[in-house]
């Protein structure tokens, strides 16, 4: 098994965070997960600002991004990332409850790498999170400069 890429989870709902982390833990994918609770915090992490000024250099291997977020919403975060030369290569996966077509279209227009609707059914949810974790943190070769566990 190759090195585990760092996952940046941007999710405001603590219950969703817990369900996601629990699932990732179950498949030993949770070691390199960083959780931010709104768009501003996520951008702080990426730009090493605020509470993240001291973190080590490097981008996450993947960003799991909810759309409905306090302060700065998911689409704004996505736009910021994709318009920044240093961040635009980070793979971004939108992970949302929204079935709405306009959200999907807006996300793809901004250059999202994948769009996943959180299933209501627990087993489907677990499957989705597991597959996302395995694919993006292990199988996918992230762009240079991404943080990986040694």
């Amino acid at each position: 098994m190759s090195a585990l890429g760092r996952i940046l989870l941007v999710e405001d709902d603590p219950k969703d965070v817990e369900l996601t982390i629990t699932t990732l833990e179950e498949y030993n994918l949770a070691n390199e997960v960083v959780v931010t609770r709104d768009g501003e915090e996520a951008l702080d992490y990426l730009y090493r600002r605020g509470t993240f000024t001291t973190r080590s250099n490097g981008n996450p291997a993947v960003l799991l991004l909810d759309l409905k977020l306090p302060k700065v919403d998911g689409l704004e975060v996505l736009q910021q990332i994709k318009s920044d030369e240093k961040l635009r290569m980070i793979p971004v996966v939108v992970l949302t409850s929204s079935h709405e077509e306009r959200d999907m279209v807006a996300s793809y227009r901004l250059g999202v790498n994948a769009y996943v609707v959180k299933p209501v059914d627990f087993y489907e949810f677990v499957n989705a999170i597991r597959e996302l974790g395995v694919f993006w943190a292990i199988i996918n070769e992230p762009p240079p400069g991404s943080i990986k566990a040694k």
């Binding site: 709902d13 219950k15 969703d16 369900l19 629990t22 409905k68 949302t96 409850s97 929204s98 079935h99 709405e100 959180k118 299933p119 209501v120 059914d121 627990f122 087993y123 949810f125």
Partner: protein
């Protein structure tokens, strides 16, 4: 208007004229002889001149010449020495010449007068004919319902037909001689100078004018002006035709107001629709999250406590999970239903037969192990939204499959009724459990169900969706049924593409 015209004297015949000449000379001669007898002197020459003048006046030039010759002979014979002979002495000749010249002058004046009189008579006759023709034309103009009047270049009315009297309430006697724009208080759409410029340029003008009737009420007219020029090409008069369009303008105004109201209502509806969309979005996003948590944590609870919980507690956990699942389905169906109402319809010509075929393929996946006798009749092509119509058919056919589940030999018939001219009516008939007609009004309501969920599953949104799809195609859905004997569901679609 009929006038008595004086009769011109009938022209005399040639014999009458010559008779007149002879008679007038004879009377003059007789008169002269009688007067001579009574010793009046030198009256014969004026008398003969008078005779010639009478002959010239009433008879003409020929007459005058005859009268002149007769006068000369009579004068010579009866009054010039030697009497009673026709001899003429040389010394008398100038006397004759003066007489003849004078008589000729009288004749010439007389002829001139006759000619002038003839020309005058001709002119008068021509004038009378023209007056008659004009009167006839004017009477014709009176027959039309249109309002027609003529005004000269200083705007004074010179003609006013009956239509004008009926529209404006002024009689011809009242209107003629008045200035038209003052009498009718005309309001023009442009300056009168501009209108006159166009009239002089093209000979015509038309537009809408506001005018005032005799009773003070306002009237809107469609006005057409034509310019009449005299023989020298100078503008002479303006013929104006008016049609009352007050009622039409009022209706147009009404339509404008109604359109404005409609526009406002549409804007309101659009705002409401936007709100509804925001609501649906919020339902889609915000209601799902807690549901997912309920299901997720219950699953985790079930997993972590599998060995600790007794059978009853495990059943409770199962029921929580089933309820969460069911609520998820309800939300999905509700969103799909609301989308049917909100989505734009993309209408094309659709083969219903092909759609039924597709719907059957989809539904048959769930009919394994069932004995179903399918009877599909001929179906027409119609104008509609393909995916919506397909959904309606899938809902109705899967309903038929569901409610015939208790039959060992199910019969499902799909066909088309052909009575209606402007509508296509499709029916799906089954021999399933049917329903009580008492509840038929509840069948098509959202989340309305006539069977307990343990007997037949479902959220109760399928028929409501069918009804909404039919409505969006200018039709409706309805049903007939009998408990235990099966049911027939119908939906109609408008044939015209406009709906």
């Amino acid at each position: 208007m009929v006038r008595c015209k004086p009769q011109s004297p009938k022209p005399l015949s040639r014999i009458q004229r010559y008779g007149l000449a002879v008679l007038s000379v004879s009377v003059a001669l007789g008169g002269a002889l009688v007067l001579e007898r009574f010793h009046f002197r030198d009256v014969e020459v004026p008398l003969f001149l008078f005779a010639v003048a009478v002959a010239a006046w009433y008879g003409g030039t020929e007459d005058a010449v005859l009268a002149l010759i007769l006068s000369c002979i009579s004068f010579d014979y009866f009054f010039v020495e030697p009497l009673h002979t026709l001899d003429i002495s040389l010394s008398d000749l100038p006397y004759y010449i003066v007489f003849a010249s004078f008589a000729s002058l009288v004749t010439w004046f007389s002829a001139l007068r006759r000619r002038v009189e003839g020309e005058l008579r001709q002119a008068r006759d021509d004038l009378e004919i023209e007056v008659a023709e004009r009167t006839q034309q004017a009477n014709l103009l009176n027959l039309t319902h249109d309002t027609i009047f003529v005004r000269d270049m200083s705007d004074v009315i010179t003609y006013w037909n009956r239509g004008a009297q009926e529209l404006y309430g002024w009689t011809a006697e009242e209107a003629i001689g008045k200035r038209a724009h003052e009498l009718l208080q005309s309001v023009f759409p442009a300056s009168i100078e501009e209108i006159h410029a166009e009239l002089l340029h093209s000979g015509r003008w038309d537009g809408e004018l506001k005018k005032t009737r005799a009773d003070g009420t306002r009237v809107v007219v469609a006005s057409r002006w034509s310019l009449r020029r005299d023989e020298l090409g100078r503008p002479a008069a303006i013929l104006e035709t008016n049609n009352d369009i007050t009622e039409r303008k009022r209706r147009e105004q009404e339509i404008r107001i109604l359109n404005e109201e409609l526009r406002k209502r549409t804007a309101e509806l659009e705002a409401i629709n936007k709100e509804l969309e925001a609501f649906a979005y919020s339902v889609s996003h915000d209601l799902r999250a807690p549901l997912r948590h309920m299901a997720g944590f219950t699953e985790l609870l079930k997993k972590n406590t599998a060995s600790l919980l007794n059978e009853r507690s495990q059943r409770y956990v199962m029921m929580i999970l089933e309820s969460a699942q069911r609520m998820g389905n309800l939300i999905d169906d509700l969103l799909a239903f609301s989308r049917i109402g909100r989505a734009e319809t993309h209408k094309t010509m659709v083969s219903l037969e092909q759609l039924v075929e597709e719907a059957l393929t989809e539904v048959r996946q769930d009919t394994e192990g069932r004995h179903i006798d399918w009877r599909v009749g001929g179906l027409p092509a119609c104008y509609g939204d393909r995916s919506m119509l397909r959904l309606a058919l899938v809902n109705l056919i899967s309903n038929a499959v569901k409610f015939t589940r208790t039959r060992s030999q199910a019969e499902i018939e799909i066909g088309c009724m052909n009575q209606q001219q402007d509508q296509v009516v499709v029916f799906i008939r089954d021999n399933g459990v049917g329903f009580d007609m008492k509840y038929v009004s509840k069948l098509f309501g959202v989340f309305q169900r006539l069977h307990p969920p343990e007997a037949f599953e479902g959220t109760g949104i399928g028929l409501a969706t069918v009804q909404r799809i039919a409505q969006r195609h200018g039709g409706k859905a309805w049903a007939e049924g009998l408990v235990g004997k099966g049911a027939t569901f119908y939906f109609s679609l408008s044939k015209s593409p406009g709906v």
